[in-house]
Point group: C5
Chain length 102, copies 5
C-alpha cells in the first residue's frame, strides 16, 4: 500500500456497468513528509474516506478483494483512513492534531 | 485507475485471436492540469470512448474483468468517460465546457 | 499494452521447462515517434512477429492468457503486429510505407 | 522481492474489515548500500518483523499468498527478515554485526 | 521478462514458511550493453542459476507458475540462464565467450 491524500472526485456517467454506484476519488500519493510524490490515481472507496484525509490505497488485483469491490473491475482501492504514522519513534502524521490546527 | 486522453487508434490485422474485433485505442496519460504525463498506452475500449475524450483506464488483471474484456488477454482497458473532475472544490475538468469552447 | 520494436532474440538452453519451445524476443519499447522509451523487455511471441516489426506487447498475468502462452509462466507477450497508428487524424506509423522505403 | 528497512508503523482505526488485526508497517526500500531508494510502502507483516530490521517484501497478488495474508486484500507483504547479504563474495549486510555496533 | 546478472545471495532464517528451502538470489537488472539498469531485485531460482550468470527473470503472479515456485508466495523468479543475445544481427552477449575471457 501507499500513502495518499484524497484531493477530489470524478463524475463519469458512462462507465463500465460493474463499477456503477461506486465513488471515484482522486488520490495524490504523498511521502512521509506529506508532500506530493508520483502521479495522481483514481481509486474506488472501500472505507468511506472524505476529501483531505490521508489514506492507504492498494493497487492491482488486490483492489478487487475488499467487501465493496469484490469481483468489480478496479485496480485501485482505498483500504484505510490513517489516524497516525510513527517513523523512528517520531509522530510524522496525526489526524486529530491536523484537524485541530485547521 | 489513471486519467488519459484518447489520442488515436491502432490497426493490427495480425493479432492474438481472443482480442479480434476489439478496438485498440491510443491513450496519452495526463495530469490534473490535463498535460501529458508518462508514456503512451494502448487500451481496449469497454465504454465506447471517442478520440479527444478524457477517460479513466485500468491496468493489470483488472483489464480482463469488464463485460467486453472478460477472459480476453488485455492489460489495459478504458473504464469510464469522464464528465468532470473536482479537486479541492475547484472544477479542473468539465467535458461540456470543453466541448462548447471547441 | 505498449508499443515496441522487435530488435533481437535470446537463446537459453536452460530455461523453466513450461516455456521450452517458446521463442524469446527482445523488445525495445518505443514512443509514438518510434524512438526508444524505457528499458528493454523479453517477450514470448503469440503472433509470429519478426525482427524490425512494430508490435504491441502486454505484461503481467495477461501474458498467460493467449493461445500460445496459456498457463505458461511468462510476464510479457507479443499480442499484435501493428499495421498502422493514427494520432489526431495523422498517420504516425505505416508498416507498408516503412517496408517500401527500406 | 526487494530490500527495505522497517522504519515505522501506521495506526488506522477505519480500515477494510478483512485486514483488521493486521499490523501495518512503514517500509523504506533500500539499495545494496542500504541507502533509501524509491518511495515508501506500507506492508502487512508475515514474519514478525520489528523496526530497524532489514526485510524482503513482495508486492502484487503474491502479497495475498502467505499464511497470514491468504485471501486478505493487501498488495505488499514482508516475506523475510534478512540475516546477511553477500554480493560478489563480499558481505554487504550482516544483521548480527549491525546489532553489535549499535 | 528482463535481463539481470546474478550478483549475490541472501540468508534469511526467519521467512514465510511457504518459501523455506528456496534460494534467494540478488539480481541486478542490466541493459543490452550489460550495464546496470534499475534497482536490485531478489528472486527465487527456478533453473539452477549461479553467481555471475546472465539470466531472465519474471515478476508478478507469473513468478508463482514455475515448477519450483507453484503456489509459493514469490513475486520474482529466475526463468532462464541466457546463452546468447542477438540484437540487429549482432551478438551482444555470448556466455561461452565471456567464460573464455575470464
Amino acid at each position: 500500500m501507499e500513502f495518499a491524500r484524497v484531493v477530489g472526485n470524478v463524475v463519469a456517467t458512462r462507465k463500465e456497468e460493474k463499477v456503477r454506484g461506486r465513488k471515484f476519488l482522486v488520490l495524490q500519493p504523498v511521502n512521509l513528509d506529506m508532500k506530493p510524490s508520483g502521479s495522481v490515481k483514481v481509486g474506488v472507496d472501500a472505507v468511506g474516506a472524505g476529501e483531505g484525509e490521508l489514506v492507504l490505497f492498494a493497487t492491482g488485483s488486490t483492489a478487487r478483494q475488499t467487501h465493496l469491490t469484490e469481483n468489480r473491475p478496479t485496480d485501485c482501492v482505498i483500504m484505510a483512513i490513517v489516524d497516525s504514522v510513527d517513523v523512528k519513534n517520531e509522530r510524522v502524521y496525526d489526524k486529530a492534531e491536523e484537524e485541530r490546527s485547521e
